[in-house]
């Protein structure tokens, strides 16, 4: 079972397909859950601990807006942990403020910097595209170690 980073991290479709084909999707929910289950945090993920900016500094320089560093404290460790990545290029749902936009750019950049298999796709808009989309993900994931057939 490989750990597959998904972008956008909140994608239902990617999360479902990755786990369906026998791998572990690394999405935003997992890092948010970790914060939710941490004692002493009343309003995660907005509230951060003194450790979080330090984590974020490993991925974004100190002059980068603090919002990006805060977000990278959630996504950065997952990118380091990932053994593969799937990126959706036309993910309008990842739209947000400038902090989100810059974090999204940085996440995609860091994924490409890592020497791991990356699959880039666009969302399907028809049945034919859906078939190609699912087949591409299935082929990509079955090439990773420990994948299973649906």
């Amino acid at each position: 079972m490989a750990k597959v980073f998904i972008y956008p991290g909140t994608s239902l479709i990617l999360s479902d397909l990755v786990s369906r084909f026998g791998h572990r999707p690394l999405g935003s929910a997992l890092s948010v859950r970790e914060k939710v289950q941490t004692a002493g945090l009343d309003s995660p993920p907005l509230q951060i601990t003194p450790e979080d900016p330090k984590k974020g500094l490993r991925f974004a320089a100190v002059e980068v807006p603090s919002g990006v560093r805060g977000r990278m404290s959630l996504h950065g460790p997952q990118i380091e942990e990932a053994e593969a990545g799937i990126i959706i290029l036309d993910a309008d749902l990842a739209f947000g403020c400038m902090g989100c936009a810059r974090t999204n750019e940085l996440v995609r950049f860091l994924l490409h910097q890592r020497d791991i298999p990356i699959l880039e796709l666009t969302y399907p808009r028809s049945d034919e595209e859906g078939i190609r989309f699912v087949a591409a993900i299935r082929d990509f994931l079955s090439a990773l170690a420990g994948g299973a057939a649906a």
Binding site: P8, T10, S11, L12, I13, S15, D16, L17, S19, P25, G27, S28, A29, L30, S31, V32, R33, K35, V36, Q37, T38, A39, G40, L41, D42, S43, P44, P45, D92, L93, Y123, P124, R125, S126, D127, E128, E129, G130, I131, R132, F133, V134, A135, R138, A150
Partner: protein, 159 residues
């Protein structure tokens, strides 16, 4: 606040203890409703908290139990049931729209993707029909993609 007091505050909230997991189960099927899923869920795993929603279910409980339940529920309609993790447990006042007003954070993302899951269902169905999947994969990727010389040659030879 002392660490013990903080731990008490966290454990007072249901579903946030370490080791618990929450999953969304989305159903987009003409043959299966969220209520059917909830009934089946309670039959399979009585120790797990299940919240029925308009789109499907939210399931909270020990991670292994939730995984087992989700695997069983998927069998009801494998191509039209979609599952993803959730950070917060259902009803958590920090996320529940009953407390915040307006749409729940994350709703718009789900709304966006739920419009597309029917194409994913088609893709999953086609995986069991390799002929159709191969045929469609062989087609040009998009109408804007230029026709390759090899493909043009093939078309000329076939006609």
């Amino acid at each position: 606040m002392s660490e013990a007091a903080a731990a008490d505050r966290v454990s007072a909230r249901p579903g946030v203890q370490p080791g618990t997991a929450t999953k969304y189960v989305f159903v987009d099927s003409p043959e299966l409703t969220a209520a059917d899923l909830a009934l089946r869920g309670y039959e399979i795993a009585p120790g797990v908290q299940i919240k029925e929603t308009c789109f499907g279910l939210m399931i909270t409980g020990p991670e292994a139990d939730v995984e087992r339940l989700v695997d069983e529920l998927r069998l009801l309609d494998p191509d039209r049931i979609f599952v993803k993790d959730r950070g917060f447990p259902p009803g958590d006042e920090r996320r529940c729209r009953a407390n915040l007003g307006g749409a729940r954070p994350g709703f718009y993302g789900h709304e966006n993707e739920m419009r597309l899951v029917r194409y994913i269902s088609s893709g999953l169905r086609a995986l069991r029909d390799p002929k159709k999947a191969d045929l469609l994969r062989a087609k040009p990727r998009s109408p804007d993609e230029p026709l390759s010389v090899e493909r043009l040659n093939t078309i000329i030879q076939e006609s």
